[in-house]
């Protein structure tokens, strides 16, 4: 009986590390399917390019009360704002994953 419980506990804990990435993936899904800038408008092509150049950063999980989970793009440059961290863009991650 004890061995069975121990085995079940080990099994559960072995999957625990997957929980966080899955939660993040869900957040990304919400975020990337709902592109919106701080201005309350859809992200423009110019903002998209600036984001790609790292001049804009996305503020995730900012607690935007009206639109929780929405993608927020800040107009401030990364080096002038320390209130949030720039998110590195990696191939095969982020928007790639959520669309695929």
């Amino acid at each position: 009986m004890f061995k069975t419980l121990l085995a079940m506990a080990l099994l559960i804990f072995s999957f625990a590390p997957l929980a966080l990435p899955m939660a993040e993936a869900h957040a990304m899904n919400v975020k990337c399917n709902d592109p919106q800038t701080e201005r309350g408008k859809v992200r423009t092509m110019r903002e998209t390019k600036r984001y790609q150049r790292g001049e804009l950063v996305e503020r995730t999980k900012t607690g935007n009360v009206e639109n929780p989970g929405r993608m927020i793009i800040s107009p401030e440059k990364v080096d002038r704002d320390e209130s949030y961290e720039p998110k590195p863009i990696k191939e095969g991650s982020n928007l790639h994953e959520c669309v695929n």
Partner: protein
């Protein structure tokens, strides 16, 4: 499919899809019914960055690649053909000749406003007697002491008869080559130039909310500075611009097909006949499966051609193939979508009816399907 897209492409798709859903879709039916070109909506599209997408930022463009442009056109066309027409006509064949062949002064003067959408530009190639045979241009430009005097007319010209129109590029005959063929040259003709008259054309089957016009040039005088590139290079310039234009038109076909397919699928899942949803009837399910397959194949090829253009390789044949396949595929898919909708698909209240109408021009405009086959056959050694 998404293997071909990087993060920027996906961001473009998301943004334009949402913009089209929120800003274009609510107006599309009404503007179509009224045959009304919306200046306000065009300005919004400009603010969104839909003009000058692939133009160098040094001239006010957004510096994106061809695939971004194709994705954007696909997304707008998924919702509406009229607004997509305004965008693609301006981006490719409107801006193209000046961007690709204009002098530095011409680029500095015109491109920044073109890229914001403050100024729309037309492509003056088609004439009443020179359609597919574009070298049969009857418009003539004669050299004068002050520059050139242009006489003639153009027809089916997009973006020249609205308050945002800045002018158009006109192909005119400037002489005769040694082999007897016409020497054709392109000129910039600004809106408001004396002798230039534009007359909006109404009663269109499709693109009813886009601006289409006849253009009359009666002793229009332009300076030497208005010539684009070299004298005699006009036809080559126009055909080069059309190569790019064909990718935009192909993207429109893809977008119309995608939009119609989505509408048909949703309808088939909801509509019940003989006690079950249409989508559960094999005849309809197979039809939808064929539609999805054709769309995916078209998308894969078009995206690859877009990447080919950005590689700097010659892509005339591939552009013609993409335009031919995507537009004819759009015809088949939108027609099947109407069939699935049954009687409702014939009503203006249903968006699928508009997509079916809007796609029809794609097999004609910017080179008919027959012209695409000429281009392809010449490129394969026929």
């Amino acid at each position: 499919m998404d293997m071909l897209l990087n993060e920027e492409h996906l961001m473009v798709r998301e943004s334009i899809r949402r913009f089209a859903e929120e800003e274009i879709k609510p107006l599309a039916q009404e503007l179509d019914a009224k045959e009304e070109f919306s200046v306000e909506l065009t300005k919004k599209m400009g603010e969104m960055g839909l003009f000058g997408m692939t133009i160098d930022p040094a001239y006010g463009g957004h510096g994106m690649d061809t695939l971004s442009y194709v994705v954007a056109m696909e997304e707008v066309s998924r919702i509406d053909g009229s607004q997509a027409a305004t965008i693609t006509a301006h981006n490719s064949i409107g801006i193209g000749p000046i961007y690709l062949f204009g002098t530095e002064e011409q680029k500095q003067k015109y491109l920044p406003k073109m890229c914001t959408g403050e100024m729309l530009w037309g492509f003056g190639l088609t004439e009443p007697n020179a359609g597919s045979d574009s070298r049969a241009t009857e418009t003539v430009a004669k050299k004068t002491n002050e520059g050139w005097e242009i006489n003639g007319s153009k027809i089916f010209i997009t973006n020249v008869a609205n308050e945002l129109s800045g002018g158009l590029t006109v192909q005119a005959k400037t002489g005769t080559n040694e082999d007897g063929s016409p020497e054709l040259t392109c000129f910039i003709v600004e809106a408001g130039t004396p002798g230039l008259t534009v007359k909006p054309m109404h009663g269109k089957l499709m693109w009813r909310a886009s601006d289409t016009a006849e253009v009359y040039l009666d002793s229009v005088k332009v300076t030497d500075d208005a010539m684009i590139g070299k004298q005699g290079d006009g036809s080559k310039q126009m055909l080069t611009a059309l190569d790019y234009g064909r990718l935009g038109i192909a993207a429109m076909g893809l977008g119309h097909a995608q939009g119609a397919y989505e509408l048909a699928l949703a309808y088939a899942q909801e509509r019940k006949q003989f006690g079950k949803p249409l989508s559960k009837h094999q005849a309809i399910a197979f039809k939808l499966a064929d539609m999805a397959t054709e769309i995916d194949l078209a998308r894969t090829y078009l995206y690859n051609v877009a990447k080919l253009r950005d590689s700097g390789a010659k892509y005339s044949k591939q552009a013609a193939m993409a335009k031919l396949y995507c537009t004819e595929m759009a015809g088949r898919v939108t027609d099947a979508a109407i069939q699935i909708h049954g009687g409702y698909g014939l009503m203006r209240e249903y968006d699928v009816e508009r997509l079916w109408r809007d796609q029809r021009i794609l097999q004609i405009g910017e080179g008919t399907s027959e012209v695409q086959r000429i281009v392809i056959s010449r490129n394969i050694g026929c």
